[in-house]
Amino acid sequence: MRRTSALAAILVILCAGCGAPSVLEGKGLSQEAGTLQSSAAEGALLAQDVASGRTIPVYVREHASDLATAVSQSLSTLEAVQTEPSLRSSLRRLTNLAGSIHRDLELLGTADREESAALVRRLEAEAQAGEQIAAGLS
């Protein structure tokens, strides 16, 4: 009887946990910020090579797509989590940043040299923004 009750309690807790959004604290947010910063910086480096005509289109398309996928995973995480009140503005800024990095990396996959020059500046600024948010969280 006691064993059945314990099992039922565990099931209730698990079921309650299924629907609840997970909570990300400062360290987790800082890690997401680091991922976004790294992806934006790598995208900027790739965009520099596109702008100077030093690359191969298929590599740019595939590698930019890999980076965009990683950012999209971060974006999904950030959209799904909750955090403590003092970190909510950081979470909001990170979510917006993830969205814009994702957009820019998708554009980079098919960008010409002129568009890439603009993307270099945008992605560098986004990398810097990610770094600043991460610094504020640690």
Binding site: G34, A41, L45, L46, T55, E62, D66, L67, A127, E131
Partner: protein, 411 residues
């Protein structure tokens, strides 16, 4: 020394250099450089020295006893310990083979833009075809020589003009800057594991038997092990320097097989990118074949089956079936969509755990006069062998806790 002999040594060294880097080296050296700059160069030196010490022992055992290492493992350590070694090495071989197969498909995708899963199948078919039709020596040569395209990273490392004083400082172990101590230690373990992967010694030892080495080839064994692996180690330094120069200042944390190639592209443009991708493709492809063969060698030698690439497949059916099955299982693992870079990290860390089971029997056999006669380990080989075995024990115990505590080096 005849021209033919010099040529044989040179060819052996070239294929050893080109075949040194696998996906584990690529991932760990680039990540270590991007995280800690030049500070972990010393760990590569220790790892390369370790693989030289034990490969030389393996080659000597094969040349003198005319038997590969796993054959002697069971005989020397008994069925139970031998079976434990076999199981551990097969799990690690399979994980490594899967990671390498994934690396091959990613390289092909970066070169062609075709779908990843289709390239996984094509890549495995290509590797099986090469393994089936090419003689043993030509497998080593084709993949080793084309793997030499990775030298583009060595030239890039020079062209990026690092401060060589800072690079030299990285060869001295000491306190670290940037990143936590646990992450630093995780990368030390990873770099040692990537350099001293067990499949390399199994393949080297069985290769010596395939090449029909005898006591007259002991000099060739020494030169190939020392110069081949040492020069191969320079590719690891190059990857680390390039990552330290390009990725560390920008805060880039390499998470993709395509990221190292970006460094070659940024330095040399399209030619650099193509050389890097072709080099990675063949280095990783060669390692995939080595891991599948190493797995088949181990099984065949443990159970006493007929084995060898020199045998016709119909004459060694269980050996042939073994490497085919390893390729098939590796394909199934990566077809699930598991990230090859993550798989690489796990395979390197688990290979570290299996290292003592691989290296202890080698050390024991290389000291046994019954097998080795006058060619037993000398004092120097024993000093290094024992020191390395102690080191291997320490890193084997700490590998998994460090991986868990640092979330795979993420901090």
């Amino acid at each position: 020394m005849s021209f033919k002999k010099i040529l044989a040594i040179a060819l052996g060294i070239f294929s050893a250099i080109g075949g040194f880097v696998d996906i584990g080296d690529l991932v760990f050296n680039t990540q270590a450089g991007a995280t800690f700059g030049f500070q972990l160069m010393w760990a590569v030196v220790i790892g390369v020295l370790g693989i030289i010490v034990y490969s030389e022992m393996c080659g000597r055992v094969s040349a003198v006893a005319k038997r590969p290492v796993f054959d002697l493992v069971r005989e020397r350590t008994g069925f139970g310990a031998g079976l434990a070694t076999l199981l551990a090495s097969e799990v690690v071989n399979l994980m490594t083979c899967a990671a390498e197969v994934g690396g091959v498909a990613i390289c092909l995708q970066l070169l062609s833009g075709l779908p990843y899963r289709m390239l996984l199948v094509l890549g495995v078919v290509g590797l099986i075809f090469s393994s089936w039709v090419l003689p043993f020596r030509w497998i080593e040569r084709v993949f080793g020589y084309l793997g030499l395209c990775l030298l583009v990273f060595a030239v890039a490392a020079i062209k990026l003009h690092p401060q060589w004083g800072h690079v030299a400082h990285g060869f001295v172990p000491g306190s670290h800057a940037g990143g936590s101590l646990l992450v630093y230690l995780y990368f030390v373990v990873g770099l040692l594991g990537a350099a001293m992967t067990p499949y390399e010694v199994y393949f080297y030892s069985s290769g010596a038997v395939e090449d029909q080495w005898g006591p007259k080839d002991l000099g060739l064994n020494k030169v190939t092990a020392i110069i081949g692996y040492a020069l191969g180690g320079f590719l690891s330094f190059a990857l680390m320097i390039v990552a330290a120069m390009l990725y560390l200042p920008r805060g880039i944390s390499p998470q993709f097989v395509g990221t190292p190639a970006l460094a070659a592209e940024h330095t040399f443009g399209q030619v650099g990118l193509l050389l890097a991708l072709v080099g990675i493709l063949f280095a990783v492809g060669g390692a995939a074949i080595e891991t599948s063969f190493a797995g088949a060698y181990n099984l065949a030698q443990f159970f006493g089956w007929r084995w060898g690439k020199k045998e016709r497949p119909a004459d060694a059916p269980r050996f042939t079936m073994s490497w085919l099955v390893i390729f098939a299982l590796a394909l199934v693992i990566v077809m699930t969509g598991y990230d090859p870079v993550k798989l690489t990290e796990y395979s390197v860390i688990f290979s570290v755990v299996a290292l003592p089971l691989t290296y202890l029997p080698i050390l024991l056999v290389a000291n046994d006069r019954t097998y080795m006669g006058d060619e037993v380990n000398g004092k120097l080989a024993n000093v290094f062998g024992i020191l390395y075995f102690i080191l291997i024990l320490v890193i084997a115990v700490s590998a998994i806790p460090l991986m868990l505590l640092t979330h795979g080096g993420q901090g």
